[in-house]
């Protein structure tokens, strides 16, 4: 039986501005922040107990990152950071010290145009979602082009600004086909297998999906960005359930509230799940008015204990759920 249980919320209190994250081999959580400042570095290293282990600097080798959107560790525990604005991959060590970079803007094979996600396969090669070229490309860790597929369009195997991508345990590739409102599944070399979803707000429908992750049982978790929710599909793409979000105060958030009695007092007298007038019933409005709901999901992750992490770019936090 499929089961999901809320565990906790991590974030708030101006500690992180997460867009993506990655797990180090020792279990620590590397958070990629979309904005730095107020004490947060480009990367915040923390753990599930909400200890902050380190703030790491914002160094792309030639200055700060312009628009860092995706983070993944390779097999040697080097950080690969995708800069969407600069269309390139920067490689850092675990202390976020610059090691190397590759990639350049363009549309020829191997070139990138506003790439939006990077994930490794088991062999140590990586797939990159090449957003404005409407394709997926595969590279070796040192940036050698291996293969590509896709073009602009709405047919099978075509894309309209793909965003997130991920791999299942067999190495098949799932792509959040953003402006086609669907998730597509491919073999490791890019053969089309299946397409899940269609535009809409109903079960199994998507509005601008941003990200996807697949567990060992083949269950597919989709960050349904425009609908501000996570959908769970079975391995064949059948609809299972929806998560709307139920954030509670994290340790950091609690500290903020406790030290600001005026907000604490008035917050306690507030209804954080307000009923809204009809013009504000869309998922976006509901999430903008309802603090516990997911808002701006940009990436999904599973750790080795089967915990699902939902990264909410608009709420400065991530929510953790136990799957199984």
């Amino acid at each position: 039986m499929f089961d999901l249980e809320y565990v906790k919320t991590i974030g708030g209190g101006r500690k992180i501005r997460p867009y993506d994250m990655a797990f180090a081999a020792d279990g620590s959580i590397y958070v990629l922040n979309h904005a730095t400042g107020f004490g947060a570095g480009r990367f915040t290293v923390c753990n599930l107990d909400e200890d902050i282990i380190a703030e790491l600097p914002d160094d792309a080798g030639d200055g700060a990152f312009a628009q860092a959107v995706s983070l993944a560790f390779d097999s040697e525990e080097r950080m690969f950071v995708l800069d969407e604005a600069k269309s390139r991959v920067t490689i850092l060590d675990r202390q976020a010290r610059f090691l190397d970079r590759w990639g350049e803007p363009g549309s020829a094979p191997g070139q990138l145009d506003r790439p939006s996600a990077l994930r490794f396969d088991r062999n140590g090669d990586c797939y990159v979602s090449d957003q404005m070229n409407h394709r997926v490309q595969k590279f070796t860790p040192d940036g050698r082009f291996l293969l590509q597929w896709g073009e602009y369009g709405s047919g099978p195997g075509q894309f309209d600004m793909p965003w997130g991508l991920n791999l299942d345990s067999r190495g098949d590739v799932y792509v959040a086909d953003w402006r086609n409102d669907r998730v597509q599944k491919f073999t490791p070399d890019g053969q089309f297998i299946a397409s899940f979803g269609e535009p809409g707000r109903g079960d199994g429908q998507f509005d601008r999906p941003s990200c996807v992750v697949v567990d060992d049982g083949g269950y597919i978790y989709v960050g349904d960005w425009g609908n501000e929710r996570v959908q769970v599909l079975d391995p064949d793409g059948g609809f299972i359930t929806i998560l709307r979000g139920q954030a509670t105060l994290s340790l950091w958030a609690s500290r903020f509230i406790d030290s600001n009695p005026d907000e604490k007092r008035t917050r306690e007298a507030s209804n954080l799940y307000p009923s809204l007038p009809p013009e504000l019933e869309s998922p976006f409005h509901a999430s903008s008015q309802t603090e516990p709901y997911f808002f701006g999901i940009t990436s999904l992750h599973l750790d080795d204990q089967g915990r699902l992490y939902v990264v909410e770019s608009r709420r400065q936090r991530f929510q953790v759920y136990q799957t199984g």
Partner: protein
């Protein structure tokens, strides 16, 4: 230059943010009145720009950057009059940014929804707008402790004007709006006052009516009496001749002319008549205005000083300076602010002083510098289009006179004085004739762009 194109350019400068020659030709082919109808019935504005902006600039719409998102919308919308009306209503019902960008964007949606409907419904929507309620402290307007700020501004600045109500009307009006507040008002007010984004980012606002805090006693308002609530008040106001004249005159001043002369007064009389005939419908009033002989007359052309937002959006749209929206929108908002119009930061609840008051030396420097720099770039898609059009006519070779005439035509058409044309000519003639026959004639193309830039610096270009 054909009269159809010139008239269409006039309409699009006023009811929109100007238009490229290709757009003008499309509209002219459809006809004037059909184009007015198209403007009055907005379709899908297109969500591409906003999707991209939200995705690439996270939280763009939450804090004080909300107005950037509105700029993106104005630059990319398919419904120019809808955005122009949102801008009009923001100028008429101005609120200041108070730590909640999303609430301001929701307010604009509110305006768009009611921009072409009844004035009564618009006033009612305004009275239920959480940003307005908080801005004018109606969250502090309680049954037992009145705060008359919103009640006063509603009759003074938003619907009728001084001289059409008494101090007692103000108080009774405020009583009718007791209990009209926003959800979790105390918490939201504390957060707004401290500019708090903690713990988890901003929480947008929504309207809430609290019957337990509403004074439902009898009230005498503008000669009528009863246990009025805010909805009744909006209905009573909308019937007043002062309100009809107020909204029609404000629309006239925004869309037709900075000044009201005798002919203008007649046009407003017609609008007022339409206001009553249509049941206070703003679409009908606007239709009457745009189709009026006054609006189409030569006297009305270039009779308004372009507001900074109009100038900036017009230039960005025409040059294609922001083909795909990113975190910025060609610096549009900052530029407009430097020219004296920062969206959601009006100088007071009265809004901006328009017309001649846009003109002062510092603002003029900003206006000229910003627009000229956009048009000076021959690689901007819109500038490239203008140059390509020029290259396609006259065999591609031009005397300075011909080049100036074509540039003035295609950038507007702009009607320039003899003195301005002389100066443009002198500027152009320093470099001799222009030969655009070679598609790689970069130097010639750059020179055309320099002429276009100088036209945007001319006095005539400051008028719409």
């Amino acid at each position: 230059m054909s009269e159809d194109i010139a008239l269409m350019a006039h309409l699009m400068r006023r009811a929109g943010f100007g238009a490229s020659r290709a757009e003008l030709e499309r509209h002219a082919a459809r006809g004037y009145e059909a184009t007015v109808e198209w403007l009055l019935r907005p379709g899908d504005p297109g969500d591409f720009a906003e999707d991209i902006a939200k995705r690439r600039a996270v939280g763009f719409d939450e804090g004080g950057a909300a107005f950037e998102l509105w700029m993106v919308r104005m630059i990319h919308t398919n419904n120019p009059l809808e955005e122009k009306m949102a801008l009009f209503l923001h100028s008429l019902f101005p609120v200041q940014y108070m730590s909640q960008g999303r609430a301001l964007l929701n307010q604009l949606d509110n305006f768009r929804r009611h921009a072409f409907g009844s004035f009564r419904d618009l006033l009612l929507a305004l009275s239920r707008d959480p940003a307005m309620l908080l801005f004018l402290n109606n969250n502090d307007n309680h049954r037992d402790a009145m705060n008359e700020n919103y009640g006063r501004e509603l009759v003074e600045l938003f619907s009728m004007g001084v001289g059409n109500y008494t101090e007692s009307d103000v108080k009774q009006c405020a009583r009718a709006f007791t209990g009209w507040t926003l959800g979790n008002a105390d918490y939201m007010a504390v957060r707004a006052g401290k500019n708090s984004f903690d713990p988890y980012g901003s929480i947008a606002w929504h309207f809430e009516y609290r019957p337990d805090d509403h004074d439902d006693g009898s009230k005498g308002f503008l000669g009528e009496s009863g246990p009025f609530d805010g909805e009744d008040i909006c209905g009573i106001i909308a019937r007043q001749p002062a309100a009809a004249r107020f909204i029609c005159a404000r629309l006239f001043l925004f869309f037709a002319s900075d000044d009201i002369d005798d002919e203008g007064r007649k046009a407003i009389d017609d609008m007022v008549e339409t206001y009553y005939e249509s049941g206070y419908e703003l679409r009908a009033v606007l239709r009457a205005l745009f189709n009026s002989a006054y609006f189409k007359s030569d006297a009305a052309r270039f009779a308004r000083v372009k507001a900074p937002v109009e100038l900036v959006i017009g230039a960005v749209r025409m040059t294609g300076a922001s083909p795909t929206p990113g975190a910025g929108s060609a610096g549009a908002n900052g530029a407009s602010a430097a020219m004296g119009q920062a969206l959601f930061r009006p100088p007071s609840v009265e809004g901006w002083h328009e017309g001649k008051e846009w003109i002062e030396s510092g603002a003029l420097v900003q206006r000229v510098n910003y627009v000229a720099a956009l048009f000076r770039d021959a690689d901007k898609p819109g500038v490239r289009d203008i140059i390509d059009r020029i290259a396609r006519s006259n065999g591609g070779v031009y005397s300075p006179e011909q080049a100036i005439a074509l540039c003035l035509d295609l950038i507007g058409p702009v009607t320039a004085s003899q003195e301005t044309r002389d100066q443009l000519l002198e500027f152009a003639a320093r470099q001799g004739s222009v030969d655009l026959r070679d598609p790689d004639a970069d130097d010639a193309r750059t020179r055309i762009a320099q002429i276009l830039a100088l036209i945007t610096a001319a006095p005539e270009y400051q008028f719409a």
